[in-house]
């Protein structure tokens, strides 16, 4: 007796193939902006959904981040110690008055309680960004785990302005995403939000309450 898979596929294969016309992507492909306009568009779109921006110089962004975290009263900040950005941040946070860094260097099973209950902020880098919709592309990895950008109430994301692209389509084509993706890629366009009660916008429902983009 054929199994469910065979029966479902069998029914679908028995039908004369439906007609279709090729897809014309030009309406999406033609969306492009100058680098300056891309940055402006990204900032406007993300600020409209309550993303905060922290402008920093390329050589001393770790100090900018450290000062910001101190000003926010962050005590414990989770980060990926094996990334380049993580190493630079750690170097800036060695002096007195810096928040304690929590290295996310072991399986979640060993860090879960700390991450859920004690960590005030998570720090990640951003792979690239999308001007069209005001979106950060996060690329979780063994060095920068998935939950860094999700569980802590404050997410600090390091974005290089040079990596801002036009559209999702241009990013996934130019980077060859179709050849294969890591287990998880997340596109983030603001802090967590909901409008499930009377269409009233409320921020910080399950994910981070605040998203701060450090722009270099």
């Amino acid at each position: 007796m054929p199994d469910a898979r065979e029966r479902i596929l069998g029914r679908l294969r028995a039908v004369k193939p439906h007609a279709f016309t090729p897809s014309d992507f030009s309406i999406v492909e033609t969306k492009t902006w100058s680098p300056a306009a891309r940055l402006e568009r990204l900032r406007t779109a993300m600020a409209a959904v309550r993303t905060e921006f922290l402008d920093a110089a390329a050589h001393d962004w770790p100090e900018t981040v450290r000062a910001f975290l101190v000003a926010q009263g962050a005590r414990n900040v989770a980060y990926g110690p094996a990334t380049e950005a993580g190493r630079l941040l750690a170097a800036a946070c060695t002096r007195a008055g810096a928040p304690a860094l929590v290295p996310y260097d072991r399986p979640i099973e060993d860090l879960k309680a700390t991450l859920f209950d004690d960590v005030d902020a998570g720090f990640t880098a951003v792979r690239c960004a999308i001007a069209d919709t005001g979106t950060l592309v996060l690329w979780p990895s063994p060095e920068e785990p998935r939950l860094l950008s999700l569980v802590p109430p404050l997410h600090v994301a390091l974005l290089s302005a040079a990596t801002i692209r036009d559209t999702l389509l241009s990013v996934l084509r130019d980077e060859g995403w179709a050849k294969g993706l890591p287990p998880n890629v997340v596109l983030v366009s603001g802090p967590s939000k909901t409008a499930d009660i009377e269409q009233t916008l409320a921020y910080g429902v399950h994910g981070p309450k605040r998203l701060v983009v450090v722009l270099v």
Binding site: F25, L181, S189, H206
Partner: protein, 478 residues
């Protein structure tokens, strides 16, 4: 729902809903807001037309290649380490989910929003089998607390006012005080559900788009509960209908832009979660197991009939209900179906059968608003008319379940008489004479005119027929 036949009566349930002023106010306010936000997202009609043409072509291409794409999806997912399961019916799908949970000894589950899980009545099934199945989308959480079902596919608690939610939280959540402040209510849900995410032994989600080319499951959300449900627990079970696949990764981009703009008037959702496998080598988090359950539940039957197969293009944005004058006035529950509104009125009769659900194709004024806003160009009104026709008289080539099940002998007789009177001049004259003599005796609100005059004024007859007037002018009788 009638206990004897299992058939529903939209007319009766909608009449009841119309008498509920707070329900009507809640829907009116919400739908006005959603329509305004969507309209603001598509200011350029040329762009809108090009975008929906593109999105429709992508979905049509999916259907044209459906069996091959499902096989490719399965192969890619399997290569990525995702375990793929096939379910013909909702019962099979429920058993598959339960089997996965039992194998892991998981008794606590958190759920991201999934309409397929609503089709399965998964929560009820799991509760009966000793598994706590908790909704984590705020709207879904609210209605689960109140023992209700969603009244909208995107905004499940849209029928509730903040006062009703405040009372519900005050009564049902320990430590929650009555407050109408939306931020405070949201914070309460965050507090409760954080613990649940922490403790959960498995997570369930839907799938907005599955990409055959890369074996990727795309999840769209704003709250972060979808990411919590799919990344924190050790097991993730994703549920999808067979139609949710697309061919290429680049197909995702246009679908997403029309989806979020049509659904909630957002240029993009807060999170776009692309899942292509379980926790990878060296990864510190993410579920060790990812399962994909592919559900048919009547969809392959819809697929077989080309006249109605466009139903399967749907990307579940909900714009058709936001714009529907019927839905806005009666709300989602009046449809007594998992999917309400125009899309539900074409989908439900096809999955559950016309014998049971022949009321739903009539739950529309055929005003065409749904067709104008559909981002994948589903000819909803055309399918509604087809279903009405096939519900009364099944044509032999029509494949939808229960065709002919809405047949009414008295109605047939009346139409037969009407037709006869219009093909025979003699009968037509007899009918005119009859109406002239007996017409004035017919009272609205009773007898054969009752259904018509319930919501309309009684038609007034002209004192003289067109025939009389024409012969008076000396026009020859044809």
């Amino acid at each position: 729902m009638s206990a004897e036949t299992g058939s529903t009566d939209f007319h009766a349930s909608s009449s009841k809903a119309l008498l509920d002023p707070s329900l009507r106010a809640n829907f009116r306010r919400a739908m006005d807001g959603l329509m305004a936000k969507r309209a603001a997202q598509f200011p350029d009609p040329v762009e809108w037309d090009a975008l929906r043409t593109l999105a429709a072509s992508i979905r049509a291409r999916t259907l044209a290649k459906l069996p091959a794409l499902l096989e490719a999806l399965e192969a890619r997912c399997t290569a990525n380490g995702i375990r793929v399961h096939w379910a013909e019916t909702v019962d099979d799908a429920n058993e598959i989910v339960l089997g996965i949970l039992r194998a892991r000894g998981a008794a606590r589950l958190v759920k991201g929003k999934s309409m397929v899980s609503e089709e399965m009545h998964l929560n009820d099934f799991l509760e009966k089998n000793g598994v706590e199945s908790l909704e984590s989308d705020l709207g879904e959480y609210i209605i689960q607390l109140d023992g209700e079902t969603p009244s909208h596919i995107i905004m499940p608690a849209i029928h509730k006012s903040r006062q009703q939610i405040a009372r519900l939280f005050g009564e049902k959540i320990r430590g929650a005080e009555y407050t109408e402040d939306v931020d405070a209510l949201t914070a309460t849900a965050r507090r409760v559900l954080r613990r649940k995410f922490f403790e959960a032994e498995a997570g369930v989600s839907g799938v907005n788009i599955a990409v055959a080319e890369t074996g990727t499951l795309v999840l769209v959300e704003n709250e972060g509960n979808g990411r919590m449900s799919t990344h924190v627990p050790p097991v993730h079970i994703a549920l999808m209908g067979i139609e949710k696949v697309v061919e290429k990764l680049e197909d995702v981009a246009p679908i997403l832009t029309v989806l979020t703009r049509s659904a909630t008037g957002q240029p993009v959702s807060t999170y776009l979660n692309l899942i292509s496998g379980p926790r990878g080598p060296g990864e510190k988090d993410g579920p060790g197991e990812v399962h994909l359950v592919i559900l048919d539940n009547g969809r392959s039957r819809i697929f077989a009939d080309q006249e109605v197969a466009a139903t399967l293009r749907c990307i579940r944005c909900g714009a058709c209900m936001n714009y529907c004058p019927v839905y806005t006035r009666v709300g989602g529950h009046a449809y007594e179906a998992v999917y309400p509104g125009p899309i539900g009125s074409i989908l439900t009769p096809q999955t559950e059968g016309l014998a049971k659900r022949h009321d739903l194709p009539h739950a529309s004024s055929l005003c065409h608003a749904c067709v104008e806003v559909c981002p994948v160009k589903i000819p909803i009104t055309q399918i509604l008319v087809t279903l009405r026709k096939e519900s009364a008289h099944a044509s032999p080539e029509f494949l939808v379940k229960g065709a002919g099940g809405g047949r009414d002998r008295l109605e047939d007789l009346a139409w037969w008489g009407w037709r006869m009177a219009h093909v025979s001049p003699l009968l037509y004259k007899a009918m005119s004479l009859g109406l002239r003599v007996f017409g004035p005796l017919l009272k609205g609100g009773a007898g054969p005119l009752k259904a018509w005059t319930q919501a309309r004024t009684m038609p007034r007859r002209a004192p003289r027929t067109l025939h009389d007037l024409a012969s008076e002018k000396g026009l020859p009788d044809a």
